[in-house]
């Protein structure tokens, strides 16, 4: 459906100013609103049609005017009409909604990644550069941002109404959502899945900054250690480096460059190594034995928090050479920075 752009702009301006409509603050929002107007239109037309039929028949065929009813069995033609037309309209809604769904849930490849951990009752955001925030999220305007989210306890659901995005945050698995903010300002983050006592207090605020302000913000609020550096420390302290030493004789597979590759498992299957796979391989190693290795890795279930897992995953993700592994082998308290690989996200 194409509304004239001028009319559309006017409509959106007017609605944005009214209290009946949320602000449009992401690239998705206009698409969502377009579908919303279409659905409202259908609803109103449908309601008018049903209302008109009821009204007209009630007036024309009320007992005073029409004392004796004429019996009619039915009409195949009419039945077919009101089966096919609604079906066609619903199918349009289906296709339109599906296109929007894929737009909302398929992140662009150049999106920057931020981790979000939901817990009773707060949102904890972790930027790759080591900035942590609680019930707050700072993002740059005009850049696609992907959130990789997980819950530490129960189901939560991450919702930013002004961006028209929402996604369930689930214990035990990563879910993602992405958006590109289009207007500087602050917007509500709600938890929309009932999660116990303080569910309605699990509210946060997303602050959209201009790219320059965002740059400043990241510099001011860094904890001094990126997630990957934290992950490196954990890698050493939890003894991962004992086996994953990166050299040919190691008892565990080399982790450098493994992220994003297709891995051959001992059971014959092939998997794509992504965040979810890495997390799972740390928690349930016996189910993910790499071909050529024996199932000797212990499980880390219950020994590491979701935050820690994120750090480890981020470390492995950024591991392009064996240099860092060598470092962690020799010093378990490494604060030196590695040579920067081009792909590495640097705040």
């Amino acid at each position: 459906m194409h509304i004239s752009p001028v009319l559309w702009q006017f409509l959106v301006k007017w609605l944005n100013a009214s209290a009946l409509f949320p602000r449009e603050a992401s690239t998705i929002a206009p698409y969502a609103d377009e579908l919303y107007f279409f659905l409202i239109l259908i609803t109103i037309l449908g309601l008018l049609l049903v209302g008109a039929l009821l009204l007209v028949f009630s007036v024309m065929y009320r007992k005073e005017k029409h004392p004796v009813a004429t019996q009619i069995e039915g009409s195949t033609l009419l039945e077919a009409t009101w089966t096919i037309i609604p079906l066609a309209i619903f199918l349009v809604c289906f296709v339109w909604g599906a296109l929007l769904y894929f737009r909302i849930y398929n992140p662009p490849t150049n999106a920057m990644n931020i981790y979000v951990v939901g817990k009773q009752w707060m949102w904890k955001a972790e930027h790759p550069g080591g900035q942590h925030e609680i019930n707050a999220l700072h993002v740059p305007m005009g850049r696609p941002v992907q959130l990789t989210m997980i819950s530490q306890d129960v189901f939560h659901s991450f919702s930013i109404p002004d961006f028209r995005v929402k996604r369930e945050v689930i214990p035990g698995r990563y879910t993602t959502v992405w958006f590109e903010a289009t207007a500087v300002g602050t917007y509500h983050i709600f938890c929309t899945q009932y999660c116990g006592t303080k569910h309605s207090a699990m509210i946060g605020e997303v602050t959209v900054l201009t790219p320059e302000d965002y740059q400043k913000w990241t510099q001011q609020s860094t904890s001094g250690m990126s997630l990957a550096q934290n992950g490196e420390r954990l890698f050493a302290s939890m003894g991962c480096n004992a086996c994953h030493s990166g050299n040919a004789a190691a008892r565990g597979p080399n982790l450098a460059g493994v992220y994003g590759s297709k891995l051959q498992l001992a059971n014959g299957s092939q998997v794509l190594v992504n965040d979810a796979y890495l997390r799972d391989a740390i928690l349930n190693p016996s189910q993910h034995v790499t071909a050529g290795y024996s199932p000797i890795m212990p499980t880390y279930q219950g020994q590491i928090s979701e935050d820690g897992l994120i750090d480890l995953v981020e470390y492995v993700k950024n591991l392009q050479t064996n240099y860092r592994v060598q470092q962690t082998l020799t010093t378990s308290q490494s604060d030196q920075t590695a040579p920067i690989t081009p792909e590495m996200v640097k705040p």
């Binding site: 949320p22 969502a32 919303y36 659905l39 609803t43 449908g46 309601l47 039929l53 009821l54 028949f57 065929y61 009320r62 007992k63 005073e64 029409h66 004392p67 004796v68 009813a69 019996q71 009619i72 039915g74 009409s75 009419l78 039945e79 009101w82 609604p86 619903f90 199918l91 809604c93 289906f94 909604g97 599906a98 929007l100 769904y101 398929n106 009773q120 306890d153 129960v154 189901f155 919702s159 109404p161 028209r164 995005v165 929402k166 996604r167 369930e168 214990p171 035990g172 698995r173 509500h188 938890c191 899945q193 009932y194 999660c195 116990g196 303080k198 569910h199 309605s200 349930n284 279930q301």
Partner: protein, 557 residues
């Protein structure tokens, strides 16, 4: 009766009329005769009383919820208490009111009579299912009195299994038991409809009310066991930590969602289908016409029931299910909307060429048509994948399901209660008061729930105890509407109770309707029919009725 009168009410001469000397109500005396009855009509009355009782408890919680939401601050009660309120409201309304409402009261009373049978196939099981219902209700009240539950009626794991210290198992037991009540009712209906029809009562001569209850019974029998399993798993996980839903033990938290919605989606059809049956009867009677496209309406009930099993995942579109499965379930959801649309038009076209009067049941039926249309069309918003992302888990959902369940089902229930009240009790209710109640309910309903659609699009999450201040105006409107709606619900309670003693004597067939139930005395005899009726006409055959009435007049005179 003059042709200019807008009523078809056909009451006997009030100066001489009395209730029939012998009927099911006075057949036996004493409380025990009710508590041990095998008569489907008495069991229906037991249900009616108990369901009304629970409806008003559920309604009181609705009032408390709305009162808390009058202001953005968490000022009336603490958040735990608020969470218990909406949980109780939900559990009671769904499991103790909506699911049994029409089938257990009107269905129980009418299905055997409509088929020309003396009783349901298994009268004792019928009584047992009332006791199970009451046991379920008692456990629910126990959970409430002992300190409440705060899982929400959806019992989401792992919240319900690991993180709450309230009376989850008591409430789960309540639902488990009440579920068996529903399974038994469904079984009883199915067997009765298959085996107990009077000679001549073919499948396609059955009233549509019977068809829709048949479809709902299929759902009760096939769906409810899955709920029972899900609930048992929750209890086991809580007590023994077996871990089926626990990711740290290799379980899957989404599994519970699948199991729960595999029942609970069909459950919305268990709730609405019998209501649709009521609407068919009422609209036909008050426009004096056979329902337009009888066969299509009958089959669409069964279609809704069958398709209803294949759309559960639309409650999980944002839960990280695969994009492609979401696609399939969205498509199926759109398909299941079609039979409902068909029915709306069938009902509207039943009016065409009719001879319409606007009695109270008809007003409620019109209310149903309007509200159910809105409820249904807003369901398309939610079936439409991308839109669902923004709307789900917000007040849009709350508004949508209240339009369908409360605007649809409750309107249908009230329509049916008014329609069959003269048959069940032998007396009429005060007419202008009942029409007033219908109008007040309609206005109050819209005022309560229309603002919630807007709140939902603005993003106000459901199950929130406190909310950002910009949402207040719409919430105040909604609470004001709830007050009006509350009055609309209280009125029928009062005048129906009044009518039991003072209402005009109704006679056998005050609406001049065609169903078999209207051809016997009101209130009926315990055995319904003195001799087994032989059915020689189609359903809704008003010409047959006119002929028969004339015949009776001439033979009597």
């Amino acid at each position: 009766m003059s042709a200019t009168s807008s009523t078809i009410l056909n009451l006997p001469d009030q100066s001489t009329a009395t209730l029939p000397k012998k009927n099911y109500i006075n057949a036996e005396h004493g409380l025990l005769s009710w508590l041990f009855t095998g008569d489907h009509k008495r069991i229906a009355m037991l249900y009616l009383i108990s369901i009304t009782f629970f409806f008003f408890i559920g309604g009181a919680f609705a009032g408390l919820i709305r009162l808390e939401l009058l202001t953005p601050q968490p000022d009336l009660v603490a958040s735990d208490t608020y969470n218990k309120f909406f949980t109780m409201h939900g559990i009671i309304m769904i499991f103790l009111f909506l699911v049994p409402s029409v089938p257990a009261t009107l269905g129980n009373f009418l299905i055997p009579i409509m088929l020309g049978a003396k009783d349901l196939a298994f009268p004792k099981i019928n009584l047992l299912s009332w006791y199970l219902y009451m046991a379920g209700g008692t456990f629910t009240l126990a959970a409430l009195v002992l300190g409440g539950v705060d899982t929400g009626w959806t019992f989401t794991t792992p919240l319900s299994t690991h993180y709450l210290n309230t009376h989850v198992i008591t409430a789960a037991t309540a639902i488990f038991i009440a579920g068996f009540s529903s399974i038994f009712t469904g079984l009883n209906f199915i067997v009765t409809i298959h085996r107990m029809r009077a000679p001549g009562m073919t499948w396609f001569r059955m009233p549509l009310f019977v068809w829709s209850n048949y479809a709902a019974s299929l759902l009760m029998v096939l769906g409810t066991p899955v709920l029972a399993i899900a609930i048992v798993l929750v209890a086991l996980e809580r007590t023994f930590g077996i871990g089926v839903f626990d990711p740290t033990k290799g379980g899957d938290p989404l599994l519970f969602q699948h199991l729960f919605w595999f029942y609970s989606h069909p459950a919305v059809y268990i709730m609405i289908l019998p209501g649709m049956g009521v609407i068919s009867e009422v609209i036909s009677t008050f426009s004096r016409k056979r329902v337009f496209g009888y066969t299509a309406v009958a089959f669409s009930s069964v279609a809704i029931a069958l398709f209803g099993f294949f759309v559960w995942e639309h409650h999980m579109f944002i839960m990280g299910v695969s994009n492609y499965s979401a696609l399939v379930f969205s498509l199926l959801t759109m398909l299941v909307a079609v039979p409902s649309a068909i029915k709306i038009f069938n009902w509207a076209f039943t009016l065409q060429q009719g001879s319409i009067t606007f009695e109270t049941p008809m007003l409620y039926a019109f209310g149903f048509l309007g509200l159910f249309t809105i409820g249904g069309l807003t369901g398309v918003f939610l079936g439409s994948l991308g839109m669902d992302i923004h709307l789900t888990e917000t007040y849009f959902i709350v508004a949508h399901f209240h339009f369908v369940m409360v605007g649809g089902m409750l309107m249908a229930f009230l329509s049916g209660i008014h329609f069959w009240w003269p048959k069940m009790t032998g007396r009429m209710y005060p007419e202008s008061l009942s029409k007033l109640a219908a109008v007040v309910t309609f206005i109050g309903f819209n005022l309560t729930f229309l603002p919630q659609f807007i709140l939902g699009y603005l993003g106000m999450p459901r199950r929130y105890h406190a909310y950002p201040p910009e949402f207040q105006v719409l919430n105040v409107l909604s609470t004001a509407g709830a007050t009006v709606l509350g009055v609309g619900y209280l009125l029928p309670m009062l005048y129906l109770a009044w009518s039991l003693k003072y209402g005009a004597i109704a006679g056998n067939n005050p609406w001049q309707a065609t169903g078999l139930e209207w051809q016997i005395q009101s209130p009926p005899l315990t055995e319904n029919f003195i001799e087994v009726p032989i059915v020689d006409h189609e359903a809704y055959d008003y010409e047959w009725l006119a002929h028969k009435t004339q015949h009776e007049v001439t033979t009597v005179g």
